[in-house]
């Protein structure tokens, strides 16, 4: 998949996004704590580009997607969509925005109503936003998008359980695409699929992006996938951004020790390089977001950690050689 050049106008600007979940510790009468799932995340998505969001499970990457869609109300921060801050919008105020802001889920089968046919599932956004169109037009549009995502029109009356995982994900993509949205949030769209199917779905998303100029937020725990599909990559750790950079720049020279560790773990399809590669193995698990480490959240597992890291929270600053390459580290490479 080739990556078309992204234009620079920001479609979506997220500023200082925080999502805290109240958690009660110690049974019924315990203290109420805030689980900081997303803690002050800022990023832009430009028209026609793919922003990759990588992070371990529990890093808050899915929460970001859900907070942008207002499925989870952000605790603080702005979600500026086409120049309008939609953070905290009610269901009714959010509805017109949903037309151009769609989502593709991780589990293709679970995200499709088992009692609805593929055609009805794909037509769902059409039914809510353009209920006036006739039966023939509705069918025509559904078949058109089915062809676009690589489904045969005669599959229109089948139910999700009659499809394979990859085909179901195509249905999910067709549903997200039918209204020609401006941004699709793909929340781990290939994680539940067989490895052999992943490339097909990734290529399909790329082809659709090329054809319709949509933007994508591609959420995944797999840096190998993300760096392949994304124009820019956002590396998330414990609800905080570690590094945002152009995909090529990040690949060539990751600055943050966490990104370096992730990249060193991602396999390279070249045996000589792969054999030579130095792997950075991180010790331990992700710390609890209920009780994050002081200073830099990554310091507990960082090979470069020093006293300053525990004392001071590193700011996300352009320390990677270009204004676009932001790193949150006291001792970047």
């Amino acid at each position: 998949m080739s990556k078309p050049a992204a234009t620079s106008s920001a479609l979506l600007s997220v500023r200082g996004l925080k999502v805290y979940f109240p958690v009660r510790q110690g049974g019924l009468f315990g203290r109420q704590l805030a689980l900081k799932a997303v803690d002050g995340v800022s990023f832009d998505v430009r028209a026609g580009e793919t922003l990759g969001v990588v992070g371990e499970s529990g890093s808050g990457k899915s929460t970001i997607g859900r907070a942008v869609l207002q499925l989870i109300k952000p605790t603080a921060g702005q979600v500026v969509w086409l120049g309008e801050n939609i953070a905290g919008f009610s269901r009714a105020k959010m509805k017109p925005k949903r037309q151009s802001l769609q989502i593709v889920f991780q589990d293709p089968l679970a995200s499709l109503n088992p009692r609805m046919t593929a055609g009805d599932i794909i037509a769902e956004p059409l039914d809510t936003f353009e209920p006036g169109i006739g039966r023939d037009e509705r069918r025509r549009r559904v078949e058109e998008i089915m062809a676009k995502v690589g489904l045969l029109p005669q599959m229109i009356n089948r139910y999700p359980h009659e499809f394979s995982g990859g085909q179901n994900q195509r249905i999910g993509i067709a549903r997200a695409m039918i209204l020609r949205p401006k941004l699709i949030i793909a929340d781990e769209p290939v994680s539940a699929l067989d490895v052999s199917i992943r490339a097909q779905i990734i290529n399909l998303l790329g082809d659709l992006q090329k054809e319709f100029g949509i933007s994508l937020i591609f959420i995944s725990h797999d840096l190998a996938v993300v760096r392949h599909v994304s124009h820019r990559v956002l590396v998330l750790y414990l609800g905080k951004v570690m590094e945002i950079a152009d995909s090529t720049a990040l690949n060539a020279r990751p600055r943050h020790p966490y990104t370096q560790a992730l990249l060193s773990a991602a396999p390279v399809p070249d045996p000589t390089v792969e054999r030579e590669k130095r792997r950075i193995v991180l010790q331990g698990d992700l710390p609890s977001p209920l009780n994050p480490p002081s200073g830099c959240v990554f310091r507990t597992r960082c090979p470069k950690a020093q006293a300053k890291c525990a004392a001071e929270i590193p700011k996300l600053e352009p320390r990677g050689g270009s204004a676009d390459h932001l790193v949150a580290c006291h001792f970047p490479d």
Binding site: L112, N113, T128, G172
Partner: protein, 381 residues
Amino acid sequence: MTDAAARQTSRYVSQAPFQPEDDDAANVPNPPNFMARLRAQRLAYLAFGVLLTLYAMLPFIEFLAPYDSETRNPDAIYAPPQSVRLFHDGEFRGPFVYGYSARVNEETFKREFTIDKTKVQPLRFFCAGEAYHFLGFIPANTRLICAAPGESLFLLGSDRLGRDVLSRVLYGGRVSLTIGLFGVTISLVLGVFFGVLAGYVGGWVDTVILRIIETLRSLPELPIWMALAAALPAAWSPLWIYFGITLILGLLDWPGLARAVRARVLALREEEFAIAARLMGASPARIMTLHMAPNFMSHLIASATLAVPAMILGETALSFLGLGLKPPVTSWGVMLNEAQNLAVLEVYPWLLTPLIPVVVVVLAFNLLGDGLRDAADPFSR
């Protein structure tokens, strides 16, 4: 993937479009639907057939019953059941019954009836019997079976007023079978409404509804029925009493269904496809009706079916205690109420016949409900 990919590889790549399912797309068998899965449950399907037959009989009770439910025959008090026979003295006589001979018991001063094997009384079919109004407005007098002219026919015996037990069981079925359905309908409407409200809205609404449900369920059933039934005005006509009892049974039954619905809604609203619908901009009403209802309806039908026998038993119990329906309305419970006396039972056991349809119907509903539940969710087992 397409042209570009083909050009990059040196090996042969077919340029023909890949159409893996071209031919057999139409041959994919449909998954077994709800009815097909129910049919696979032999016992449940049989129960379904039995119930369907019973309910289909209800409009034709007047035709099927030899007598009206209130027709008295003072000459045949507590007459024993007559059985239908075909041969008399080894000779084929067609379907007939033996008549009664009455004798006054010198000790008890009661008339006792015995089957007199000399009186051959051939049965008549599709004959002119007592006049009735078919469906309430078409005057008719054709009945399926009549006694020989001038004689009487009590296939299941007669009661203390000389009324035909068979006819009364048939007429009673009309009340007993429908009261369960109406009660369940009321309970279903209330249960779905409150269950969906609690499950979908959540928050304090959920808490309030749950507390009401718990309170209602913690009340002892029988005394509450009795209290409510006793509160029905005595001046009400039997029809109003009938609806009153239905209402009481329905009002006390909905919490169970509401709870089941709430649980399903709670589970479904967290399902990804419901979240997807929400994110596609679907309204709550659309999510409820299109995405949730089809996914819990079959479960609900199964629970409702299992609630019907409880209603029938409830009516029977209330009427047996003399608090439910009262004569002249006939239900199985009312009939059993008249069979309370142990002494009566010893001498006239045929008065207990209404128990047989109660058991059959309750059993059938339970079997059907179990079958429906399994058919509704083939993956649950």
